[in-house]
Symmetry: C3
Subunit: 208 residues, 3 copies
């Protein structure tokens, strides 16, 4: 992937996650700068962990525009919430699903560039996606979204597998990205809409 495309996808992914973080912070009745903290953690947390694990310079420390994109997305969202009288939770899920798909691709791509194998790359893509939201939920003392089903991690892994398969078949970057993004967003939104759920464990069976 050319550096510019990569950069653009990353900025858009960060902005989407900043929007979903702001919407959730608002829902929680967090006030003042707490919103900026929570939204920033959601937007930058996953990518930060990815870069640390890859032993690379952290993206938003190296390039200040990620930080500007985050702050801008937060303030625009805050402004919109104040202006528009009623906001549906649907926008939160939509922003989150697109953030998920984009971040996943960026994570896999960056791992492959830094010589990680496919299994590690897909794992790192998924980490990039889920870690920001996981910290956000943990800070708010909630059981993280990712553990409550809804194909959250599954959607990332599926998107990653699609990307990997097309990549190995030498499909051009543009189609790899579109197919992977479509897979992740479709699975995630479909899981919410139709209550899809994987069952690895039989539920209701407990340890003593």
């Amino acid at each position: 992937m050319s550096g510019e495309w990569f950069h653009l996808l990353n900025v858009i992914g960060v902005a989407f996650f900043a929007v979903s973080g702001t919407l959730l912070a608002h829902k929680k009745d967090v006030d003042g700068l707490g919103i900026v903290v929570l939204a920033s953690v959601t937007a930058l947390g996953g990518g930060t962990l990815r870069d640390i694990l890859l032993n690379q310079p952290v993206f938003w420390v190296a390039h200040a525009d990620y930080l500007y994109a985050t702050y801008a997305a937060v303030f625009v969202t805050v402004f919109l919430i104040r202006v528009v009288s009623k906001f549906s939770g649907y926008y939160f899920l939509l922003a989150d699903a697109f953030g998920l798909g984009l971040y996943n691709i960026v994570g896999i791509e960056k791992s492959l560039i830094n010589d990680a194998g496919m299994v590690v790359a897909i794992t790192l893509g998924t980490i990039t996606c889920i870690f920001g939201g996981l910290i956000r939920d943990v800070i708010c003392s909630e059981i993280p979204l990712v553990l409550r089903g809804g194909l959250y991690a599954t959607a990332c892994i599926a998107g990653g597998l699609v990307y990997a398969a097309l990549f190995l078949l030498d499909v051009s970057y543009g189609w790899c990205i579109i197919a992977s993004l479509a897979t992740t967003v479709f699975l995630r939104l479909g899981a919410i809409r139709w209550n899809w759920e994987p069952t690895i464990f039989k539920r209701g069976k407990k340890l003593d």
Copy 2:
């Protein structure tokens, strides 16, 4: 800033946060080595994240005296609590406010030395301040102090802006430090005393 001053401020900041961590752990009725764990996380967490984000050697791994300062501050505080019959929560807030101010300066300074821009530096200063306390609160299953208002993050950012302004005006290091520290401590303690609070969001307005 000369290396020695920098080092000294850092050690004192760590010690202040270790004291506030110990006082909070005591309040929580955490016992045994849990106190040391909680106080160490509070004292070292923020600076650890700062160094990782800057891709620098983590300060307390590189120089063992930070670890000694933390352990010493914890044990002295534990000893004092056992000896003095009644401890006011005021000491916790005081230690925390000074820890906040000092850590903020160290964070900004270290970011600037490592070629970060001003916006990134102020963000990293604030992260240095709030991250330790944030983990401490998250571990104790509480909504973090920083999200509950009280100008916590605001005081750091204001102190950072004062430092940046004086720094750009070529004021000597000593005055930059004193002015920034005074701003942060004043805002933080004032916010507690007189209930100052910023309102970015209108409170009480919820998403569906």
Copy 3:
């Protein structure tokens, strides 16, 4: 320690922690891929933090077999739980205690190789042990096991001191490992069996 031994101990420690993470996730009634997330965090979290703090390549990113060991241990445990009708919580504590002992040794060893002093090395060994479980508990919104007594951190530190003492007395690696592992496992399981508990603070004394 020869590189192969070191590698083997690390893989076994990771697998033990993956088993204990899976058993806990099952107990929590977490379903689907949430189990894999929770077990992976438990297994890899502590070692990841250790490598980041030492500014070394993160072990499971550099060598994919740690990731394979984790996933394998998770799926075997999930399979066993489905097959065996009744699982005692005892297996969880046993797997956790052995994970603790092994991870501790690997942590100390890796710190010493990277020129850390003894105090830093023992601190890092303990961090390697407790951090994975700490995140696991924090994610599940529980007060972490490590803060609830049971000599959790104490067992690691004692194992670390035994290792350090024998190491300085030039005892061969094999015996250092066995003695340190025995100390940690004995203290941890003994603390659970006979309710040993340290008291640094007098309990029940609160701050106002």
